[in-house]
Symmetry: C2
Subunit: 298 residues, 2 copies
DNA sequence: CCAGGTCATAGCGAGAGGCTATGACAGCGA
DNA sequence: TCGCTGTCATAGCCTCTCGCTATGACCTGG
């Protein structure tokens, strides 16, 4: 059984690939050259692969090394998001820029935005508060937050607002599920009649779903399961608990590589706009304006 | 300075979230309850967040805990791909199913496919050989590989073939680059006249690019830089070395969250079909057929 | 009020992983 | 041809992390 490699070694490997030398990579991460050498050997042993072609004039990645670097890169990128996200949650109190966001945005978009902003301004501390869209509006309105991001269908009155991204709720099922092989879209009635795995009442995702179904003139069946985060819903679907309705942001990669199947529903528009909000009377300046610019590009 | 959390602790946290108890999660990963308890405390301290709400009847995730679990989930998923990928490279020799794939497919799609197949058949060992599309065809033709995946524009003669996915090369630039703010698409001539960061000659990506440009009647300028993997190209673009042409698979997430900008090119069709290939005379059976099925669904 | 469940603390032992010092070897210039 | 410089590897030591067991403190339910 191969144990999980530690992240520092992966980072080291990536650096060796970029810098072409074990010693240089060691210096970059602040460890001695022998230590780096030893760590890389350990990594190779633990993966059972030769990753580096060592010579007296430096080290180059082998074929396998290139592959592992590619995979490591993604692990490390995601880890960086985790770290910036965690930091933003942590420094909430005494940050220079106070951001409030609804859950989906906070989980899938905000860390990346904040990370990019901090790439431009490394000494800027950003605080992130996550609540539901209604409370985001209140926080921005009261000045407790400088900038908010909401997923609510109704832009709140009294606040300046601007769309930053689009999102769509989708019906997903595990691969074994009969719906995965359907060729015809589901009817709204069929969907409404089926017990689903959904987010808990009060969440933006759930609200959107209820409202869209209501507008289509149907009432949702009693949920199969109510869960407190998109991640939990996703896990339940993968475990084949049943169909679910969830933001495409949460399952984008699962669908891209076939782990989950998206089921289209006839005549149901589950798109929604993700918006930035800020106090109406103030023009956005400084870090808040920069963050908005980062969020808006794309 | 917050150090990188170790992956085992993240996994433990995810399990606590699912199982609702520290002890149960500890048992699941094969460590003692006190050890798990201690590790979780360490994780909380290192992130500076309270992740669990402990009670005498179990432990529940806090708000911050939910966020961290979501971010961790993605780190762990990527790590799982790394591990299956590495294993597939390692057991190449004595695997029960021999797969050969070109680089882009091997890096971005194959680990997920193999992971899903191994989810169904845990004791099946899959070996992965990565080379260029031409050699993949040769390996399959000679029987050295049971199933191949190629990104070449010309399906090789004498082999059964079936499309499994689509891919597209795209022009990407860093956000500061002038092209990032363009509203008009680039002309083919403009693109061809600009030195680009590209994959090395001989790679499927480079071949596709050369061929498409040739068909459009232009010749590519001398490359700014030639690199040996899509990951390296991506890094160069992020470092603002210059524009690059790379598979969308490599930069999908970067574009989705605005780290890189895609530039459209007028009248250039850079789509390509990714195909499975296998010997013409044999009907696919067993693991090879199963893997093809996994790759084809979506 | 005890039984069975939870999580936390204490103390100990082993091993991972850090460091410095040194060796081996290739390439380059004098 | 002979150092000089730069590469990576090995050896030996020491620290501190992280695992374990044993135990405590505390709810909940019978």
């Amino acid at each position: 059984m191969t144990r999980a490699p530690d992240l520092d070694s992966l980072k080291l490997l990536v650096l060796v690939g970029q810098l072409g030398s074990v010693g240089a990579a060691a210096e970059r991460v602040g460890i001695s050259q022998p230590t780096a050498s030893h760590r890389l050997s350990t990594l190779e042993r633990s993966l059972g692969l030769v990753l580096l072609e060592r010579s007296r004039r430096g080290s180059r990645l082998t074929e396998a090394g290139h592959m592992v670097v590619g995979w490591s890169q993604r692990v490390l990128d995601d880890l960086a998001e985790l770290m910036t996200g965690a930091e933003a949650l942590r420094v909430r109190r005494d940050a220079e820029l106070h951001v409030a966001a609804s859950m989906t945005i906070a989980e899938y978009l905000a860390p990346s935005w904040i990370g990019q902003l901090r790439g431009q301004r490394p000494d800027l501390y950003v605080g992130l508060q996550v609540t539901n869209s209604e409370r985001v509006a209140a926080l921005v309105g009261s000045g407790a937050a400088d900038l908010g991001f909401i997923e609510s269908p109704h832009p709140p009155a009294g606040l300046a607002t601007r769309p930053v991204a689009h999102d769509r709720l989708i019906v997903v099922v595990a691969n074994g599920h009969p719906w995965a092989r359907r060729r015809k879209p589901l009817s709204v009635e069929e969907l409404a009649a089926t017990p689903l795995v959904v987010r808990e009442a009060g969440s933006g995702t759930r609200e959107t779903l209820d409202e869209v179904l209501g507008r289509a003139g149907v009432a949702m069946a009693k949920p199969l399961l109510e869960l407190g985060s998109a991640t939990a819903v996703r896990s339940a679907v993968i475990a084949a608990t049943g169909p679910a309705v969830v933001s495409e942001l949460a399952v984008r990669t699962d669908i891209a590589d076939g782990r989950l199947a998206a089921v289209s529903v006839d005549g149901l528009d589950l798109r929604r706009v993700l918006r930035a909000v800020w106090p109406n009377d103030r023009k956005l300046v400084g870090p808040a304006a920069e963050l908005l610019a980062v969020a808006r590009r794309r």
